[in-house]
């Protein structure tokens, strides 16, 4: 059974803290993504990566960075958390050149910044 695992389901952090969100996939997918999901706004792409050590900005990269040191792992970093980064964060992966465009999602990490 294919799986995308997000290590932290619920986090509460304080303004200014550094936050790491970890994501691991076991499908040998080349592409990995980080989205945030907010009511009324749907899923918005923060960053994606199509290969180890490669990264591309999505629509809302400000305040975030990412790291992909291994093919199966993609980390999202909030250097200095702010209250407007309170959200649900979803990691996803997909096969390069896959003809359905299917994204496989993790269960999400709900972050609250106080």
């Amino acid at each position: 059974d294919v799986k995308v695992t997000q290590s932290s389901r619920y986090l509460v952090k304080r303004t200014g803290e550094k936050v790491f969100l970890e994501c691991v996939q076991d499908m040998d997918h080349e592409n990995m993504f980080w989205y945030r999901q907010d009511p009324g706004l749907g899923l918005r792409l923060i960053y994606f990566s199509y290969d180890v050590k490669m990264k591309e900005k999505g629509d809302i990269p400000e305040g975030y960075s990412v790291s992909r040191e291994k093919k199966e792992r993609f980390s999202l970093i909030l250097e200095s958390a702010s209250t407007n980064q309170t959200s649900m964060y979803l990691c996803a992966s997909s096969l390069m050149g896959g003809n359905t465009g299917e994204l496989f999602f993790g269960e999400g990490s709900r972050l609250t910044v106080l």
Binding site: V4, G42, L90, N99, T100, G101, L103
Partner: protein, 111 residues
């Protein structure tokens, strides 16, 4: 104007009803059209996908794409309480690194 518009609902129907969910879009470059289902406290899962225009049926679910009107639909026949979830439309050009999502419609099917 958002690139993908989807009525967030919520939508509540009785068990057995036919459900119609819709999205409109503005980017004519979109070629892949998908519907994801997201249960509470879970990540989205792909439910249906269609390439270009046309209909696709899978059991109780039918996806329709009308590229001339930039309009896509998902129909659920004989809806069940287990269909209660948020339904997200998604679409992308050939390169799926540029997938765009609707806001999601929250559906409740009451027994």
């Amino acid at each position: 104007q958002k690139e993908v518009e989807q009525d967030p609902g919520p939508l509540s129907v009785p068990e057995g009803a036919i459900v119609s969910l819709n999205c409109t879009y503005s980017n004519s470059a979109f070629q892949y059209f998908m519907w994801y289902r997201q249960y509470s406290r879970k990540g989205p899962e792909l439910l249906m996908y269609t390439y270009s225009s046309g209909n696709k049926e899978d059991g109780r679910f039918t996806a329709q794409v009308d590229k001339s009107s930039k309009y896509i639909s998902l129909f659920i026949r004989d809806s069940q309480p287990s269909d209660s979830a948020t339904y997200l439309c998604a679409m992308s050009p050939i390169n799926n690194n540029d997938m765009r999502f609707g806001a999601g419609t929250r559906l409740t099917v009451k027994p």
